[in-house]
């Protein structure tokens, strides 16, 4: 695939800082190349579609147009599930509805924005790594092993649903599955982790209502944490800043408000892969996670 345009989105600039940091150093250490879309706008997250669905379609298409028209890329890589989902949805809406494409283009002309031509493909970071390097490519770069650390890989809702907007998934061998995603399992498995059978891979963490209906979110997060612990996981690996902060926030809320303690650690998959490449925890922002995993990583001989 070569070089891609990197779309960090707002979360990676804010609370998802460690994810941005670990993504950048990991990509570099793997010898891949990307360029940040410097003047990007928000994709609308989960919120603006409720004001009007076209807002979300437009905001996402604007990002894709910046990448193709201003920077000359045909692929945008987003590590955030929310951004990835929204860009994919906009791709789908504009490709399947002439009216949607027309509206997007009209609005762009009115706003003096670059005009989206339907010529950009969006990838999640997981997909990019699998497509460009694959399991063998990753294995070759490994300097250390994750020493059998037991991981529950958590993908969340937006990476897989609704499956209509992800045409590359569910295409048989080698492709990602929307029912039982496995790219993160594949990558971390190649790095020496033990993937445990975790039934809630694509369950919802209640991210949409983290603050507006905290009780529901705490309950949903507890379901995920408890299922992971019951299955014997030491770590929940994440690939989305919203899921990651949601798990961390509500793990704390469960502890402070309901006295329910859990010991499973929440770590970005980029940080785990980076450790296996021999990068330091500091460079990967492992200390900046709220979930304090250094003790466990030391015990396992990973750091």
């Amino acid at each position: 695939m070569g070089k891609v345009a990197y779309y960090p989105g707002c979360a990676l600039e804010g609370s998802g800082g460690p994810y941005d940091k670990s993504t950048r150093v990991l990509v570099k250490a793997l010898g891949l190349d990307m360029e940040t879309i410097s003047d990007y706008n928000c994709c609308g997250a989960m919120e603006v579609k409720n004001i009007h669905p076209m807002l979300q379609t437009y905001l996402s298409s604007r990002v894709m147009a910046l990448a193709s028209q201003e920077m000359g890329y045909d692929a945008v890589m987003a590590p955030c599930n929310g951004c990835y989902h929204n860009l994919k949805k906009a791709e789908y809406e504009t490709a399947t509805s002439e009216k949607a494409m027309q509206t997007v283009q009209d609005l762009a002309r009115k706003a003096d924005d670059p005009v989206y031509q339907g010529d950009v493909r969006t990838l999640h970071l997981l997909e990019w790594l699998m497509e460009d390097l694959g399991i063998e490519g990753i294995k070759q770069k490994m300097k250390k092993s994750l020493n059998g650390i037991k991981i529950a890989n958590y993908y969340g809702c937006m990476y897989t649903r609704p499956r209509q907007i992800f045409p590359e998934k569910d295409q048989g061998e080698g492709s990602e599955s929307s029912y039982k995603p496995h790219f993160m399992d594949d990558l971390l498995g190649a790095a020496g982790a033990v993937n445990i059978d975790f039934p809630l891979k694509t369950a919802c963490c209640g991210g949409a209502h983290t603050l507006s209906d905290s009780d529901t979110s705490t309950q949903l997060v507890l379901n995920i944490i408890q299922a992971a612990e019951d299955a014997g996981a030491e770590v929940i690996a994440t690939e989305c800043p919203t899921c990651h902060s949601g798990l961390e926030m509500h793990q704390i809320r469960a502890e402070t408000e309901f006295g329910i303690k859990s010991s499973v650690k929440v770590i970005y998959f980029t940080q785990l892969l980076g450790l296996a490449l021999g990068l330091s925890p500091r460079k990967l922002g492992v200390h900046e996670n709220i979930s304090d995993s250094i003790g466990l990583l030391k015990e396992k001989g990973i750091v």
Partner: protein
């Protein structure tokens, strides 16, 4: 036939008999529950069309009541009163009063899209939940839900600058919903976040909060989008 979803029928209309003889036949046992019949007059023929005009509600007419949405629903697993299939059914029949019995929970849909993923008829139930919630707010049947406030704070920030900043959206939301700005669990979260945060990033986040990051090329994009949304609302709801 067994009565499914008995919980959806008002208790006073369920007649349970110890023993029951109908036309001389003893039907005691599993046939001993009857429902008092009634004539419906409280339906609104136009209701389905009204919901279709809300973003997300467009495909509600396609539902064939298979129940897959409710069966897969994250919120149904938390609370069996949260029942997308049933609300879609009532929407199609125009039985607004029945829907209003659940007015306080419809907004709780977490947008996990399990329903939309599984629906064999592309109804997009997640969108219908949002459409129903917005209709109720527009009709002033319910107050604006916390999640609507959140959406509005979020959109306003994008409208002005093209981007959002976590802390200022959060503060804006708490102000608007009259919640205390400092909640204990969030304080603990904040403290743990600061514990190892590099100084440079702390300064950056602080600056971001003070001066929300701006998309330089944003220009008149916000204005154009706002005008579009207003125009579309005018077309849909007059």
């Amino acid at each position: 036939m067994a009565i499914h979803e008995k919980s959806l029928i008002e208790p006073e209309r369920l007649l349970n008999h110890e023993t029951l003889v109908v036309d001389g036949v003893d039907v005691s046992g599993s046939w001993n529950t009857m429902i008092t019949p009634r004539t419906l007059r409280d339906y609104d023929d136009d209701f389905e069309e009204i919901i279709q005009k809300y973003g997300g509600g467009e495909n509600v007419h396609r539902c064939w009541q298979c129940g897959s949405c409710t069966n897969s629903c994250t919120m149904y697993a938390q609370n069996v009163q949260f029942n997308p299939r049933y609300w879609i059914y009532l929407t199609r029949l125009g039985l607004k009063d029945e829907i209003l019995k659940d007015k306080d929970i419809i907004w709780q849909c977490v947008s996990c899209n399990k329903c939309t993923n599984i629906c064999p008829k592309d109804v997009r139930p997640e969108g219908v939940m949002k459409a129903l919630a917005h209709w109720m707010q527009d009709q002033e049947i319910t107050e604006k839900s916390p999640s609507t406030h959140f959406d509005e704070v979020f959109w306003e920030e994008i409208y002005h600058t093209g981007r959002i900043e976590d802390a200022s959206v959060m503060m804006g939301f708490f102000k608007r919903t009259n919640q205390p700005l400092v909640q204990e669990w969030l304080m603990v979260f904040g403290q743990r976040m600061m514990k190892y945060m590099p100084v440079a990033q702390m300064i950056k986040m602080g600056l971001n909060y003070a001066i929300t990051p701006r998309t330089k090329s944003w220009g008149k994009t916000g204005e154009v989008l706002k005008a579009y949304v207003e125009e579309q609302k005018e077309v849909a709801h007059g």
